[in-house]
């Protein structure tokens, strides 16, 4: 065989950027997510032509048009199922799903949980602005109870989904969270998501400037962010706060935010994050932390657990069956099947 020259190519963020003009509202959080995806792909150095970005419907789902990769802007809620088909058909591709809280947790809820359950190696970027943007301001499955919107003028009388809880309920192997304004964490978790083998869910808390402006302010505003969020890193102490002097400890079955040096708490008492623990009990508690319970909202990679992926296991089954059966043409297969007789 002729020796083939191995080409090393280093891609830049701009190589993933398409020539299409981006048409989100000025100030939309989606711009930051798009930029972060360009950067993450450059860091991963994956070929644009080996990348497929699949989306459903909604503002978030316009993202594939702005990528210089293969892209598919499909129909409402179905991106996870389409992406499953793409990945199983060609496991060599890097497959991304761009979707919103309405797209994948309402109409696409079924496909979302089943993609997660199957652990297909796709990366789901879940843009969560807790509102329907493209249909102009109705409440979404992540809007809080009592939320007033165009379709809930007197406030909703239903409870929201927490994407993390849904993901864990479907036995998800990877869950991470970031905020649109925090580009560094976003890039980091996208890179981690891509490296994870299996379905990765990355929830990006994203601001809709037109219909739900400031919904994430408590955690995204620079004045409050340090005290109201914690960025989790595997193997590191769960510390947060402007002075990095606060930490998370276990009190009974519950998490508690404490200040080191107060009430007798020392650095020793602060928990160490284990994203790889198969038991998701603590990860679930971390993912559900909320400022209303005086706990910081968790960002970063909350869960990342190795498990078999659907498409690899599927290919392996094919290999095993083919090893037991000699390669043969379709006609030969029919001739060797039962119930064959010859008319001479």
């Amino acid at each position: 065989m002729e020796a083939t020259e191995i080409k090393y190519q280093k891609y830049l963020a701009k190589d993933y950027k398409s020539e299409n003009a981006v048409r989100w509202c000025p100030g939309c959080g989606d711009y930051a997510i798009l930029t972060c995806l360009h950067k993450a792909l450059a860091e991963l150095n994956v070929d644009p032509h080996n990348t497929a970005v699949i989306s459903g419907i909604g503002c978030s789902s316009r993202l594939p048009y702005y990528m210089n990769t293969y892209g598919f802007h499909s129909i409402h809620g179905r991106a996870a199922a389409i992406a499953t088909g793409v990945k199983v058909a060609n496991p060599a591709l890097s497959v991304w799903v761009a979707t919103g809280d309405g797209d994948s947790l309402a109409i696409g809820g079924n496909h979302f949980i089943h993609a997660v359950r199957r652990n297909v190696d796709i990366n789901i970027l879940l843009f969560n602005n807790k509102i329907y943007g493209l249909t102009k301001g109705q409440y979404s499955p992540t809007s809080s109870r009592g939320f007033v919107s165009k379709s809930s003028p007197y406030g909703t009388v239903e409870d929201p989904f927490h994407p993390a809880e849904l993901c864990f309920g479907a036995r998800g192997t990877f869950f991470a969270r970031a905020i649109d304004v925090d580009m560094k964490t976003q890039v980091d978790v996208m890179v981690e998501a891509a490296r994870h083998k299996g379905t990765s869910v990355v929830e990006v808390l994203q601001n809709c400037v037109i219909f739900n402006d400031g919904i994430h302010n408590k955690i995204s505003d620079r004045n409050w962010k340090a005290d109201n969020t914690i960025t989790l890193r595997h193997g590191e102490k769960m510390l947060f706060g402007k002075e990095n002097d606060k930490g998370l400890v276990l009190e009974g079955w519950n998490l508690k935010a404490v200040t080191i040096g107060e009430e007798g708490y020392t650095l020793e008492d602060v928990l160490v994050h284990d994203a790889t623990s198969k038991d998701n009990t603590l990860q679930m508690k971390l993912a559900l932390m909320d400022t209303t319970n005086e706990l910081p909202v968790a960002l970063g990679v909350i869960r990342s657990v190795e498990a078999p992926t659907y498409e690899k296991d599927y290919e392996q089954q094919i290999e095993e069956v083919q090893q037991k059966n000699p390669k043969r043409s379709f006609t030969d297969f029919l001739l060797s099947s039962s119930n064959v007789w010859e008319v001479k």
Binding site: H49, Y70, S74, I75, G85, A89, V343
Partner: protein, 621 residues
């Protein structure tokens, strides 16, 4: 050959095995039809079973039947009425009584015709034959249950397992009646229960004892012989429509050099396609059982985008769920084969019964101007040919193709000459690398072949052809989102013209029968066998009549209009309220001579009914 028995030569016979859902009637029927095919007869089968898996024993709604028609030649359908009924209980007799021919043989199990059995079947008296007014038949009572038990008392089987073999005892008697060699049945049983040798031995023993019993006591005055046919030389197997459909897809993928992908969700009566393809990992088939019908088709659309021969299989209500995604496949112009095994509707209707009521849904069941290819398979074997042709059209013309089959042909089987794939046409997927003449730099995702208007297939993983597609209207060249009014009009026209152009790539419509007939019978789909026989019978009665059976519905074959105009009268026969007839009228405004024959019972057409009705139509009554 039994001694001292009169052997009568006959041309065709219809036999129905009938009993409880758990009595193994489908197995007896399948074995009998297979061994008849191997013996050299033509066969057509009709499994007719209830939707319930196991209805209460002996009840009327739990009756499961398997009808097989065998003959020396010209077996086009499973037959209207039966010559021989095997009734394992009174309920089976009651349900099938209306379908008995005069003089037919009714073989029944006397052990299962006791008072409690009569009560379960809601008989008022203890003489079911009298009560059903069955005078002109030959009842043969055999103590099938008790004889099966004594036949197998040394088998080491448990009582329940022994009883399960009574279908083989009954089959043995039928084999004796029709001179079927048991060696073939033995072999088939060995294959069927290969992993359970004890069961093989017991089944063969029950079968043999049933045969010997018939022989020893000369159950009827004569036995019957149907001459084996002189079939075309070659290797044969028997196949049902669903398996043939699955095989057609495998064969097409092999020919196109592509991987076959099926995204599907179980639904009666289409499930066998998913199950057959799930087995075929030896061919690298990827058959995914998805979470719902929508995921079935959308995962396939994803696989089509990624470069597979993608298919999805379903039945009526499932096609309804797939309709939004079908629009996406139309809009993105991706190759996709959608198999709809029609069942009775609307809604969940009668899942195990067959109809032709999804034609309108296939043609029109989408939002927007949404043209695609619609085809219909005519017989179990034609399911193979049609699935192959559908795949070829999808891949070469970049379009979804809906292939309509139905419960009758999907479950029915016939003998099939194993095809030599060398004789089948090549399949050339419309890949951009192989079909686009310009530079990669100039290529845009919605550029098209000038003659056919087919766009090029750029598959993820291929350098230089990165692009974005989607469900939104796009610029006719660049594919960039566009809501420009003139552009939309042009795209609507192009998408329609692309499908219309396919008429140039499909065979012209053929006509059977008299060249100088005034009346043309028109049919489509799984009614072919019944319509063909109807036409032949009308000709036997001295009528001049022709018959056209359509496999291609959208687009219609290029000669369709000219052909239909030739006749004074057109009888369109279909198992719906006139969907194809109305479609033809819509396509060809000058056709004013269409008569409709419609029956929507969930049962196959009856040739005798049609001969009568068509005669009246032809005579203008």
């Amino acid at each position: 050959m039994p001694t001292n028995a009169v052997v009568t030569d006959i041309k065709q016979v219809t036999i129905r095995f009938s009993g409880d859902s758990g009595d193994g009637m489908q197995l007896s029927g399948t074995l009998f039809s297979t061994l008849s095919a191997i013996f050299g007869n033509e066969i057509a089968t009709f499994p007719d079973f209830p939707a319930e898996i196991r209805a209460p024993q002996g009840s009327l709604h739990g009756v499961s039947g398997f009808q097989v028609r065998i003959g020396a030649k010209d077996v086009y359908n499973s037959g209207d009425k039966t010559d021989v009924l095997v009734a394992m209980n009174p309920a089976a007799l009651k349900v099938n009584a209306p379908y008995l021919k005069k003089g037919s043989i009714v073989l029944f199990d006397t052990d299962s015709f006791q008072k409690k059995d009569m009560d379960k079947a809601l008989f008022k008296t203890q003489d079911p034959f009298e009560e059903l007014n069955l005078q002109d038949i030959q009842p043969i009572g055999v103590a099938i249950t008790s004889m099966t038990k004594s036949s197998l008392e040394d088998s080491g089987l448990e009582n329940k397992e022994m009883l399960r073999c009574k279908n083989m005892f009954a089959l043995g008697i039928v084999c004796w009646l029709f001179n079927r060699p048991l060696e073939i049945a033995d072999k088939l049983l060995e294959q069927k229960f290969a992993k359970r040798p004890k069961i093989v031995v017991a089944n063969i023993k029950a079968l043999t004892d049933g045969y010997n019993y018939g022989n020893n006591i000369h159950l009827t005055a004569s036995t019957y012989r149907i001459e084996p046919i002189e079939a075309t030389k070659g290797f044969y197997t028997d196949v049902n429509g669903n398996t043939a459909t699955a095989y057609g897809l495998i064969a097409a993928a092999e020919k196109a050099g592509l991987q076959l992908f099926l995204g599907s969700y179980p639904i009666t009566p289409a499930t066998d396609i998913l199950q057959e393809l799930a087995k075929r990992k030896d061919f690298g088939v990827k058959a995914l059982q998805m979470e719902d019908e929508i995921a079935g088709i959308t995962s396939s659309i994803g696989a089509a985008f990624a470069g597979s021969l993608a298919a999805t299989s379903t039945s009526g209500p499932g096609l309804a769920l797939k309709s939004e995604a079908l629009g996406l496949a139309v809009m993105t112009e991706l190759p996709l084969v959608v198999i709809d095994v029609q069942r009775s509707g609307p809604s969940t209707g009668m899942p195990t019964k067959s109809e032709q009521t999804d034609l309108n849904q296939a043609l029109y069941g989408r939002n927007g101007e949404s043209p695609l290819v619609v085809m219909a398979a005519a017989s179990p074997i034609d399911c193979f040919e049609s699935a192959y042709a559908a795949s070829k059209i999808a891949l070469e013309h970049m379009t979804p193709v809906i292939l309509l089959t139905d419960g009758y042909i999907a479950n029915g089987s016939s003998a099939w000459k194993i095809p030599d794939m060398k004789e089948y046409p090549d399949i050339n997927p419309h890949f951009v690398q192989t079909h686009f003449n310009g530079d990669a730099g100039e290529w845009k995702p919605f550029m098209r072949d000038e003659d056919t208007l087919v766009r090029y297939w750029g598959v993820p993983g291929t350098p230089s052809y990165m692009h974005r597609i989607g469900g939104l209207e796009k610029d006719l060249l660049t594919g960039v989102i566009s809501s420009n009014p003139e552009n939309h009009q042009r795209m609507v026209n192009i998408r329609k013209q692309k499908i219309d152009n396919i008429a140039n790539f499909i065979p012209e419509q053929e006509v059977l029968g008299d060249p100088d007939a005034d009346t043309l019978i028109v049919g489509w789909g799984g009614t072919h066998g019944h319509l063909l026989e109807t036409m032949l019978r009308l000709r036997d009665n001295g009528k001049k009549v022709a018959y056209a059976h359509f496999r291609y519905i959208s687009p219609l074959p290029a000669n369709s209009h000219e052909l239909l105009k030739r006749y004074k009268k057109i009888i369109v026969a279909e198992q719906n309220n006139g969907q194809f007839a109305n479609y033809l009228n819509g396509q060809f405004a000058d056709l004013n001579n269409i008569c409709k024959y419609n029956k929507v019972e969930g049962q196959p057409f009856k040739v005798s009914d049609m001969v009568e009705a068509f005669t009246q139509m032809m005579e203008g009554k």
